[in-house]
């Protein structure tokens, strides 16, 4: 037992900044070799490949009828579901499974450290307390970003080979924008589940709470929005156009508190430039007479200006959750 121990030099204090990088590095390694990562990447990878094969098949069938210079053809790889296929398109798969991915890497961020008894040891090292939260969030976002970029590249690659269409610059920008918005969206679920991991002491409870929040927001959002909008802006039996617009406007504003609707609108605007389902109000309020008159696809600038509020809303929701996590963790006692 009596061994001499080599002396390590004491680190100067100025080198003690950036503790979050050490935490993020360790967490990222943990994530990438974790079983949950393999499970999720397998599910998402397989469904992405299935989705793009199905979409590419649909595009090839229809391609005889469509001019190959049709704008946004490449984007169809991400959005199209041929009538013969039961596989949802890629962007719907990400919208469905993405939140699970975010939750999977956040639900035990802090209470996992607690239950393993590593939190006091971690916090007694010369790092700031927020380094723990920041590092973990950065690691989670990195994994999410990595997976999304990877999947998007698989879809694009398969698409290029199968339908032989290369993306234009504006399509590339749209896809990059789509990936960024998706990272923010999944980042929201990461932040929310991290918040639960601080507030709730058991990892299983916080996982359930996060999944419950996701289900409630997904299933009941429209119902809730409809009910509240009918109360705030009632629509009588013989409604005037103004009353209908007022109701639609309220519904739309209310839906902004739900990340799903924000994300859905943003991705549709980015990936389906010819889609105008949600911009009924935009059409009316846009002073540009052309935009309502021509049924052509929206230009990149128009799409970006449309998604801006949604993206801002998503970022705001994510920041609120992260700030909540941060404050709750900073105020929490180290001891359970």
């Amino acid at each position: 037992m009596a061994t001499t121990v080599s002396q390590a030099p004491l680190q100067p204090i100025r080198r003690l900044s950036g503790g979050w990088r050490v935490v993020a590095g360790k967490e990222l390694t943990d994530h990438l070799i974790s079983i949950r990562f393999f499970i999720l990447i397998a599910i998402m990878g397989l469904s992405a490949i299935a989705a793009v094969y199905s979409a590419a098949g649909g595009i090839r069938e229809a391609s005889a009828a469509i001019d190959s210079d049709f704008p946004g053809l490449f984007l169809k790889l991400f959005t199209i579901q041929p009538e013969s296929s039961r596989i949802p398109p890629f962007f719907a798969l990400v919208a469905l499974l993405g939140p699970l991915f975010g939750i999977a890497f956040g639900f035990d961020a802090v209470n996992g450290e607690r239950s393993q008894g590593t939190l006091p040891r971690l916090l007694s090292q010369p790092i700031h307390r927020d380094d723990v939260i920041n590092g973990k969030f950065v690691a989670g976002l990195s994994v999410i970003g990595l997976v999304l970029v990877l999947l998007t590249m698989i879809v694009a690659g398969v698409g290029i080979v199968r339908i032989g269409v290369t993306p234009s610059v504006s399509e590339l920008i749209r896809i990059v924008g789509y990936v960024v918005v998706s990272i923010v969206y999944i980042g929201f679920w990461l932040a929310l589940s991290s918040l639960f991991s601080v507030v709730l002491r058991k990892a299983s409870t916080s996982a359930l709470a996060a999944i419950a929040a996701w289900l409630v927001a997904s299933l009941f959002a429209l119902l809730f929005v409809g009910i509240v909008a009918d109360i705030v802006s009632p629509v009588p039996d013989q409604p005037t156009i103004d009353e209908q617009i007022a109701n639609a406007k309220t519904q739309r504003n209310l839906s902004f508190v739900f990340p799903q609707s924000l994300y859905q609108e943003a991705t549709i605007a980015l990936l389906e430039p010819e889609q105008r389902t949600f911009d009924i109000l935009g059409l009316i309020s846009l002073q540009n007479p052309q935009s309502g008159a021509i049924r052509g696809p929206l230009s990149l600038e128009q799409s970006l200006s449309i998604v801006w509020p949604q993206v801002t809303g998503l970022i705001a929701l994510t920041v609120i959750c992260f700030a909540g996590t941060y404050v709750a963790f900073m105020r929490q006692e180290v001891r359970a």
């Binding site: 080599s6 390590a8 680190q11 050490v22 393993q116 008894g117 916090l123 007694s124 010369p126």
Partner: protein
């Protein structure tokens, strides 16, 4: 030594409905092993967390190796190694990987920590187990790995919270030997907390007895007994005629209380009243079978202070 390793002035931590630490004045000298003793819930862990800057004091100040835990928490954590109560490790990482993470959190370079970790692991006797996942370790092994972990940063002060809890006698001896060896080899100051006095009193230079947030006595184990005796004496007596002895005893001035046991009585008295007892019994013709002044072992004092709490091992 100019600077004490730990010094607190009127350190207080109050929660909404109770006071965990009440006006604590504690001084631990450089290079000594100090035992913070008290029952569960006495405020030992709270005190330790305040010393580490992990919990804000309500009032009062603390100084650790001359640094303020509230204003310079990072500097304090750089020089203090902490082994928490029931220390845990990342179960999927090996013991070595766990220690390497700690080294990186201390911004040590790989070249500096690699051999150091190997040496420390050898010192705590875990060389064979260190490359196994920490999830497979026994409690005693985790405790020893915890000590190695706290030493990675080459601390000037080592704080061990309940290092002996839940450990078998053999493991206990190893850990106490290890702490003693560490102090002898590197001169590190050690603050350890425990609710089991008899386990740790042998290695402590000084102990402080901590009850309900207050330090009730402090000093070397030997002196402490005298401090706490409060001038009283405890005498064991056995006689041949129990029926008459009670009245006789109570007639002696200075006898406070008599606890009637199976084969002897335990008498609390203001001073050593053995001569008076012998005399009084002899006058009434009661035969004296046993008479002994109890040496106040610290354990007994401790029990008196803590009641049943101190004994729930």
């Amino acid at each position: 030594m100019a600077e004490p390793a730990i010094s607190t002035v009127e350190l207080t931590k109050r929660y909404e409905d109770f006071t965990a630490v009440d006006s604590l004045n504690l001084t631990v000298k450089e290079g000594e092993i100090f035992g913070l003793l008290g029952p569960n819930g006495a405020g030992k862990t709270t005190t330790i967390l305040m010393l580490l800057g992990l919990s804000e004091p309500t009032s009062g100040t603390a100084s650790v190796t001359g640094l303020s835990p509230t204003r310079q928490p990072l500097d304090v954590k750089r020089v203090v190694g902490y082994v928490p109560d029931n220390v845990g490790f990342y179960a999927d990482l090996t013991g070595r990987q766990n220690l390497e993470y700690t080294a990186r959190l201390n911004r040590m370079a790989r070249a500096d920590y690699e051999t150091r970790i190997t040496d420390l692991v050898a010192q705590v006797g875990l060389t064979d187990a260190v490359d196994r996942p920490a999830g497979t370790y026994s409690r005693g092994m985790r405790q020893r790995l915890g000590i190695a972990d706290a030493l990675v940063k080459n601390p000037r002060l080592l704080i061990l919270d309940e290092p002996t809890i839940g450990i078998d006698p053999e493991g206990l001896r190893e850990i106490l030997d290890l702490i003693r060896t560490l102090r002898e080899d590197s001169g590190v100051t050690v603050l350890l907390s425990s609710h089991l006095l008899h386990q740790v009193q042998s290695i402590c230079d000084r102990v402080g007895i901590f009850v309900e947030g207050k330090m009730v006595a402090e000093g070397p184990v030997r002196e402490l007994a005298a401090q706490l005796k409060q001038g009283g004496a405890t005498i064991e007596v056995a006689v041949d005629d129990w029926a008459r002895a009670g009245d006789v005893m109570y007639a002696i001035p200075g006898i406070r209380r008599i606890d009637r046991g199976e084969d002897h009585w335990v008498i609390s008295a203001e001073t050593d009243l053995r001569p008076q007892i012998v005399k009084a019994l002899a006058e009434r013709g009661i035969g004296l079978l046993h008479l002994k002044l109890r040496e106040e072992a610290l354990d007994v004092i401790y029990m008196n202070h803590f009641g049943r709490d101190g004994h729930n091992s």
